[in-house]
């Protein structure tokens, strides 16, 4: 059971209630709707890289899975395993995110991005060589997006684990990314 009750939608500010109605039925969103005015911009930040980002979608999901493993967040992993599979990532590549790096399952860019993710999680300030290697593959915009994505999942895993958000009894259909995109264009 979550450490706080999920808020009753009737008690939420209009902006939060309206956005929640159109989002995929996930417990993280139900809870986050009770966080006050952070809910809408938080969803806007997530939508920015999930639906409008510059990073390759497979590379992004591999990095998100890696952060989930490093932070030990079962909920984060559960959701992004579904997203990864829906986006066509094969099981052997998904499984390799839990293992040693670099891995032969990954491209040069993916290995460089995952090495940067590991270093960010472990040391906050990434090592210059690791950073430059990822930058050489991804460019200035890509490497910034990568650092922000890793940071967002440090936030997300802390939120999920500290509030003990439960995995849903019934999985949603598909990745949920399209619903998030439509929700954000309708509500912001």
């Amino acid at each position: 059971m979550a450490r706080l009750p999920y808020p009753d939608p009737a008690t939420l500010p209009d902006a939060n209630r309206n956005l929640l109605k159109t989002l995929p039925a996930l417990n993280i969103f139900r809870m986050l709707a009770g966080s006050g005015p952070s809910f809408v911009p938080f969803m806007s930040l997530i939508n920015a890289y999930l639906n409008e980002g510059v990073l390759d979608a497979h590379l992004r999901e591999l990095v998100i899975l890696r952060v989930g493993h490093l932070c030990g967040s079962a909920y984060e992993l559960h959701q992004h395993l579904r997203v990864s599979r829906t986006l066509g990532l094969p099981e052997n590549r998904i499984e390799a995110t839990a293992g040693r790096l670099p891995s032969a399952e990954f491209t040069g860019a993916e290995n460089a991005a995952l090495a940067l993710a590991d270093d960010l999680v472990a040391h906050v300030k990434a090592d210059k060589d690791i950073f430059e290697k990822a930058r050489a593959h991804l460019g200035d915009s890509g490497v910034q997006e990568l650092v922000i994505v890793v940071g967002v999942y440090l936030l997300v895993c802390r939120y999920l684990e500290t509030l003990e958000i439960e995995i849903e009894e019934k999985d949603i259909e598909g990745s949920g990314l399209e619903e998030i995109k439509r929700s954000m264009s309708a509500n912001v």
Partner: protein, 183 residues
């Protein structure tokens, strides 16, 4: 010195262009321009934390500076110590954030926030020992705000340190206006 060149806000497009019109000329914002529209979302989340939270601003700044101290984010600590002073926190209390939860300058509530912040930064999940006392004292919304604040500045510290964002030269740091500022 920053690891990649700062973005020139004059070249911004779309939502980022609108965002720059309202932002103080801080180096973190100049750096993040490479991210395009994501800058706008990042700023709006930061703004909701700093401007629209119900959480007491002193507790909020204690959590933010503590995250910066624990994660050795010099820029974050510099900016938020400035904000802490402007909302009226004493130098003694600001110094105590560097010392730890047991420092004398804190009241009991501030101590709980320090312990909770330390726990989440180190362990991802706050233990019952640091979570339960705060749950009794804060509303659910305020408690959520505190977790989001700690997470947001955990993210910001990665960005600031990895891009080596420089602290602004004296006189070029612009003016940050937040509710409750006295100077």
């Amino acid at each position: 010195m920053a690891r990649i060149p700062y973005f020139d806000p004059a070249n911004a497009e779309g939502r980022a262009k609108e965002a720059y019109k309202k932002l103080p000329p801080l180096n973190i914002f100049r750096m993040m321009g490479h991210s395009g529209d994501m800058l706008d979302s990042f700023i709006k989340l930061g703004n909701s934390i700093l401007v629209y939270s119900k959480l007491d601003p002193v507790l909020r700044e204690i959590a933010i500076v503590r995250v910066g101290v624990l994660r050795k984010a010099k820029y974050e600590v510099f900016q938020h110590e400035r904000i802490s002073r402007q909302i009226g926190m004493s130098d003694e209390k600001i110094k105590a954030i560097h010392e730890g939860p047991d420092a004398k300058a804190f009241n009991e509530m501030e101590r709980l926030v320090m312990r909770f912040t330390d726990d989440i930064v180190a362990n991802t999940r706050a233990s019952d020992a640091t979570f339960n006392p705060l749950k009794e004292k804060l509303s659910h919304r305020e408690l959520q705000e505190l977790v989001v604040t700690i997470g947001y500045y955990t993210m910001a510290s990665c960005f600031l340190e990895t891009f080596d964002v420089d602290i602004e030269e004296k006189g070029k740091e612009g003016k940050v206006n937040l509710p409750g500022m006295k100077s």
